[in-house]
Amino acid sequence: MKRLFYLYFLLIAFSACESPADVELSPSTPTLVVDAFINDRSEDQFIILNFSQSFFSNEQYQPASGALVAIADDQGNPPLLFTETGNAGEYVWQPTIDKPTIGDVGANFTLNIEFQGEVFTATTKMSRTTPIQEIQFYEEEIPFSDELIYEGRFTARDLPGLGDAYWVKTFWNGEFLGNPSELNIAFDAGLSPGGGIDGREFIIPIRAGINPTGEDEAFELGDLVKVEIHSISREAYNYFIELQIQTDRPGGFAELFAQPLANLDSNIRPLLNTDTQVLGFFSVSSVSQLEVTFTEDLIVAQED
């Protein structure tokens, strides 16, 4: 749908234009950021602690070192410690033979961080994910030309029962598609809780939301395409939607429909309810994945 709007305005946009804006921003207050998205894969899990910085600064973020980071569950398991073994600010937990994954679907997890004398905490639940049946590539004509491109679509069904939310991550030749316009979030089989589409194939915008959105970027024969479906809680769904609104700013005529700038709310709070600000989010997912190499038998031809 986005491309429709862009095309529309291209046609009547005689002279719309953009230019760099010379702005003065308010001073920045470095704030603790907790990037804690972990999952049930049997691989190293990372929680990153660092500080926010001035908006125009693109230096590496200042790490928050020396914190104690642990995740406990309500299943009676001992808490899992994350340690700062490698890079500063990166806290890792490694699976072992006794504990191959962080935990199971249905369990509630609590994150506890002790940093500079203060304790921060967050809870979340790992919900169920859904398997991916296949990934196919649909022929499409490029507008204004006769060339064909391929639109990748995965096939999967939302699990029956309202309230399942998912984050679909795509890896193209090993690289994660991390552009804000490539953020692909589903609620049940649709785009939002109010839609009420449940227990069915995901709707097209989600299934086709695995394609790269950069100019002239598209899947080609021979590419390695991996799709992962991470289950997320309802709170994490809200967080991702807000995150997409705030980071996906393509400009141009999309500015006519843009929402105002707003801060993202975190689910991590100081344990003692002090005024200390914490940014970021804690989420635990169950993951399903499918990886294919784009070969001719995966092409779905155009209908006339």
Binding site: L7, L11, L25, V33, F55, Y61, I204, T247, E255, L256
Partner: protein, 805 residues
């Protein structure tokens, strides 16, 4: 006879004396009474219609001035007047600026019907007039805070792409603003776009724009005049907080056939009017179609982009006391990606009206209205993968209104207004991999009923009042789904805690409100006056929009058990002064409006295709205040006006800006407009306008951080709209070139050459922040940048050719 002084006799004596005296008094009284009864019994009514002699169009606001009584009246919107005065001989002047005055000698011995036709004055360039009202109407009329534009004024203003536009013209008036090109609608005295009631022949128009605000839906060829009430709103109008924009269609030339048209760069237009029965019935049909897709066809591949509209009206004068009108509008914007996929929206309205003279003093206007606004989206590249979404709002409205011309000092109006709403926010169907799902939302119904009564009273030669009361009610009706929401921390989404189904038309929630209206005019001397007004307005339906500008996808929704009606109280006070024999008009007007139950939204609000959207809506208070200055030159070769508004509009909502007052997205502190016309000679007229408005408020980040590889902006002071984008200013110029020869009816064809945004300023619409596409230096993170977006960044020249036949 001797008098014996007994008590009784004393009493009798007194009585006799008194009786004598009283007899005389009674006789005198009786004579007076009889005389005055004769006078009362000998008041007669003169009434009738004032029309334009060239085409029979009713003249609204024509003056009927009775020299002997030194008092006058104006015709109502249908050209009707009614004056009740004592028997006698009178010289009555019928006046309308730009037309030859007609003087009638009337010997009034019975009720008279006097229909008048006024001829256009042969204009001497020195007397060129811009306004269609009596010269000092701005000083003498009781109404304040109202702007009236005649179509002739609108047609002389320079316009975007050479096309005259109603909405763009009212934006040149004080108190009216817009957030910029590309925004649909307009803002009045700091009110939002959804707080204006836009009426086309009394039918509500829910989206008044084509092409995302570049043009309005009103075809100027079919428009007779435009009225904008910014304050002092009379009791016969209600339903919106901020303003009433009434666009009145022409009735159609009842004397002979007339055609008008134009060819321009974006669209062309044609309008035809003619009598159906000479002097009794006529019609007008006006059409427009844009053809940018036709022009761009070689570059397109099945895409279509166009708009069209059709405006039509017919009227029939049954007899001297009865006239009926039927008018309608049908328009559509369509963008189609290909044969199966696209996006379209449009309004349809129709109005049926009956004017009936119940008696010589009692005028009835009974109106039946239908209005529908809908939009459709569809995507379907394959049968097993498709998506279709239809949304509409439909209203049916009946309005009987009566005007009772009690005497020259009192005009009473009263009536009823019943509006039935049906909101269908989403009929939507998604087919995915062959499986279909109904993802629509349930319809909602509402019934808004009002009764009003008002009186325009001339207390004495200096003081006039208009006071009235409107009682309005709204019923939120089934069948529909009803939701209950729980609490949440301020600014967060409220959870749904209950849901129930209502199967029939029962009342789910009801609201009742009293809306007093008052305005006064105190005439200090013939050239200056002081006016003041107070009105309370209530708005029962709401336009949901959480984007920067209003877009066609915005949803109208009724008040419910979760959304209260909006309330507004506005005070206004102004001083009006004319100079140099009414050649200059000046005014200064201050306003203050307080509003309650104003809508704002949580961050990340989900307003489309969401049955629980009410949980994302926040409610707060609003206030808007300001001063409007206007200086207008009406006569001479060079004329025009300067308007300046200094204003502020703010909201206070729990959960936004930490609960403190913050400016709205359309708050513009300074708003200056200079409009000038220079009638160089018979063939050429230059016109120019200059607009300068303060930059609108916005929110900037101060920090950034990273989450899962995404760079997130953050505002450390958590303020909303605490910064402003740069100032907007723009100069437009146009030249109207008339043909040498007049055509059959005395009109001339003409060219319009115009330059919009003469010095090519890139006026910012918004400033946004995101990450840059450039590769960062090794060792550095991705760059972030701030970009200014302008909708129009260069000068836009255009040409159009306009003809009449």
């Amino acid at each position: 006879m001797s008098m014996r002084f007994t008590p009784i006799s004393i009493r009798n004596t007194v009585f006799v004396h008194l009786k004598g005296k009283s007899q005389r008094i009674f006789t005198l009284l009786g004579f007076l009474l009889c005389f005055s009864m004769t006078v009362v019994a000998q008041d007669f009514t003169i009434n009738g219609y004032v029309k334009d002699a060239s085409n029979g169009e009713a003249m609204f606001g024509a003056t009927i001035y009775i020299k002997e009584l030194q008092s006058g009246q104006v015709t109502n919107a249908y050209g009707f007047y009614s004056v009740t005065i004592p028997r006698g001989k009178y010289n009555i002047e019928f006046r309308f600026t730009g037309y030859e005055t007609i003087l009638k000698e009337v010997s009034l011995t019975q009720n008279e019907r006097l229909d008048i036709e006024l001829e256009e004055a042969k204009t001497d360039l020195e007397e060129v007039v811009v306004t269609a009202e009596a010269e000092n109407a701005n000083v003498t009329n009781v109404e304040m805070s109202i702007e009236r534009l005649d179509i002739k004024e609108i047609q002389r203003m320079p316009a975007l792409l050479g096309e005259v536009d109603i909405i763009r013209s009212i934006q040149l008036l004080p108190g009216v603003s817009t957030v910029g090109e590309g925004a649909s609608g307009f803002n009045v005295r700091g009110g939002s776009v959804g707080q204006n009631l836009v009426l086309l022949d009394q039918a509500p128009v829910y989206n008044s724009s084509h092409l995302f605000g570049l043009f309005s839906v009103f075809n100027p060829d079919a428009v007779s005049n435009v009225e904008l009430y910014k304050g002092g709103i009379p009791a016969q109008y209600g339903g919106r907080i901020s303003s009433i924009l009434g666009v009145r269609m022409k009735e159609g030339n009842v004397k002979e056939f007339e055609g008008t048209g134009g060819v321009g760069l974006i669209f062309s237009r044609l309008s035809l009017e003619a009598p159906l029965i000479k002097d009794k019935a006529s019609f007008i049909v006006a059409a427009r179609r844009s053809y940018i897709d036709v022009v761009a066809a070689p570059f397109l591949n099945g895409e279509r982009l166009f708009f069209y509209d059709l405006t039509a009206k017919a009227n029939y004068k049954i007899d001297d006391r009865n006239k009926i009108f039927l008018s309608g509008y049908f328009g559509r914007d369509r963008f189609a990606f290909d044969a199966n996929q696209g996006f379209s929206w449009g309004n349809q309205t129709s109005t049926l009206r009956w004017n009936h003279l119940i008696s010589d003093k009692l005028f009835l206007n009974l109106t039946g209205i239908y209005s529908n606004y809908d939009y459709q989206l569809s995507f379907a590249d394959r049968a097993e993968d498709s998506f279709k979404w239809d949304s509409n709002i439909r209203t049916v409205n009946v309005k009987p209104e009566l005007s009772y011309f009690i005497n020259p000092k009192n005009e009473l109006t009263f009536g009823v207004d019943v509006v039935n709403y049906r909101f269908a926010p989403a009929e939507a169907f998604a087919v995915s991999a062959g499986e279909g799902t109904d993802i629509g939302l349930e319809d909602k119904q509402g019934l808004e009923s009002s009764v009003f009564i008002a009186n325009k009273q001339e207390i004495n030669s200096k003081l006039s009042l208009e006071y009235g009361l409107r009682l309005s009610s709204f019923l939120y009706l089934g069948p529909t789904e009803v939701y209950d929401f729980g609490d949440a921390p301020a600014g967060e989404r409220r959870p749904v805690i209950g849901q129930s189904t209502v199967d029939d038309n029962s009342v789910i929630e009801d609201f009742l409100n009293l809306e007093p209206r008052f305005s006064f005019r105190y005439q200090l001397n013939p050239t200056s006056s002081v006016k003041g007004s107070y009105n309370r307005m209530v708005q029962y339906i709401h336009l949901l929009s959480n984007t920067t500008a209003s877009i066609p996808l915005d949803v109208w929704t009724p008040s419910t058990n979760n959304l209260d009606p909006q309330l507004g109280d506005q005070f206004a006070l102004g001083y009006f002064r004319n100079f140099k024999d009414n050649q200059f008009e000046a005014s200064i007007e201050a306003y203050y409006r307080e509003t309650q139950n104003q809508l704002d939204y949580i961050d990340g609000a989900d307003l489309l295709l969401n049955q629980f959207f009410e949980g994302d809506v926040l409610s707060g208070d609003g206030r808007a205040y300001g001063v409007e200055l206007m200086l207008k030159k009406n006569a001479g070769k060079i004329n025009g006006w300067a308007s300046y508004t200094l204003g502020r509009t703010e909201l206070k909502v729990d959960g936004i800006n930490q609960g403190a007052w913050y400016p709205t997205r359309f708050d513009q502190t300074h708003n200056l407009k200079l409009v000038g016309f220079y009638e160089m000679n018979e063939r050429m007229t230059f016109s120019s306008n200059f607009t300068l408005t303060s930059g609108t408020p916005t929110t900037f980040p101060s920090s950034r951080y990273s989450i899962q590889g995404f760079t997130v902006p953050h505002s450390d002071n958590r303020a909303r709209n605490d910064v402003r984008i740069p100032t907007y200013h723009r100069l437009d110029l146009s030249l109207t070139l008339y043909a040498k020869k007049e055509n059959r009816r005395g009109d001339k064809n003409f060219w319009v050459f115009s330059l919009y945004n003469l010095y090519a300023r890139e006026n910012p619409f918004s400033i946004y922040f995101n990450t840059s596409d450039e590769m960062p230096m090794p060792g550095n993170l991705v760059n972030t940048e701030a970009t200014q977006f302008s909708v129009l960044g260069s000068v836009l020249p255009s040409i159009s050719y306009n003809f009449k036949f």
